[in-house]
């Protein structure tokens, strides 16, 4: 490990007369240009996000559920961490589903112990097994990447919205109506 580090460092022996300088990747001149930067941006994250929203709004689901799912994607949901950031005083901020971690979007909806089980059940139902992402956008588009057929993709997107909606309802029931944590209920409702 140390040798690789030293090797990496030695490749870049410095010239001691001038100050450090930064350059832009991509072209001979290695200078920033708005055109180059625009290209980079178009090819990168923004494009993936645009494509995703294109698919997302085509989903035929209950409008209120769909709108809520959009809020989840944009992290505009009143989870405990978001409330805290806005200065709402809370006595505790642990996730009501699992009771261990802090409640934030990707935990509450995807990686929490209980909800992970919900997603697994839905996998079984659709007849697939795959790795689940914790990043909201990747989670939504994961079936696209596997070259599934069109109808299956469509179905998956509807289910996705429905499950997000049901998880949220369940969470609110637990908090405001003292309901229990019930995986099966979330799944059946969805």
């Amino acid at each position: 490990m140390v040798t690789t580090l030293l090797h990496n460092i030695q490749r870049n022996s410095p010239c001691k007369e001038r100050e450090d300088e930064w350059f832009w990747k991509g072209e001979d001149k290695q200078m920033y240009s708005v055109k180059l930067a625009y290209k980079t941006l178009q090819n990168g994250d923004i494009r993936q996000e645009n494509a995703m929203f294109g698919l997302f709004w085509k989903v035929k689901a209950l409008l209120i559920a769909q709108f809520f799912a959009w809020r989840v994607i944009s992290n505009r949901v009143a989870t405990y961490d978001n409330l805290q950031r806005k200065g709402v005083l809370l006595s505790n901020n642990t996730c009501v589903m699992c009771g261990i971690n802090v409640e934030y979007v990707s935990h509450l909806f995807f990686s929490g112990k209980v909800v992970a089980h919900v997603w697994k059940m839905c996998d079984l139902w659709v007849g697939l097994s795959s790795v689940h992402h914790n990043i909201v956008v990747s989670h939504f588009i994961r079936f696209e990447l596997q070259g599934m057929n069109k109808n299956c993709n469509k179905l998956w997107r509807c289910i996705w919205v429905a499950i997000i909606w049901c998880i949220w309802n369940q969470r609110n029931n637990i908090i405001f109506r003292n309901a229990r944590v019930d995986v099966d209920e979330v799944f059946t409702l969805a």
Partner: protein, 116 residues
């Protein structure tokens, strides 16, 4: 975004300019952009630039497209900037980075170059 990014680019380059001196006297260095919002005294323009360039996130499009050339080592951060490799040394050698007590140090502060 591409248009605003150019401001950060120019802040980090060695071109003189009165506008830069004014900004630097207030914020210290363009590095302050990466720290995120610092109280309510930052101007909205400054905040926007910091935000759109993605700050210190690994996914920052701006950071990913920067290549540093080592000269006297007064600006480059040894562990955190991309100079020796495609990735910052912090990410290539996470265990050493964790043990380092000079996490934010520049090259100059890290040591002297021996020979060629």
């Amino acid at each position: 975004m591409a248009l605003l990014g150019k401001w950060k680019w120019r802040l980090g380059r060695d071109e003189p300019g009165l506008w830069k001196e004014v900004l630097l006297s207030k914020y210290g260095s363009w590095r302050a952009l990466d720290r995120g919002i610092d109280g309510n005294y930052d101007s909205w323009w400054w905040r926007d630039i910091g935000k759109i360039c993605g700050g210190r996130q690994i996914t920052s499009w701006f950071d990913r497209n920067i290549i540093w050339k080592t000269r006297i080592g007064n600006k480059i951060k040894f562990w955190e900037d991309r100079w020796a490799d495609e990735t910052p040394l912090r990410d290539s050698f996470p265990r050493m980075y964790t043990n380092s007590i000079l996490k934010e140090a520049t090259m100059e502060e890290m040591g002297v170059w021996n020979g060629d």
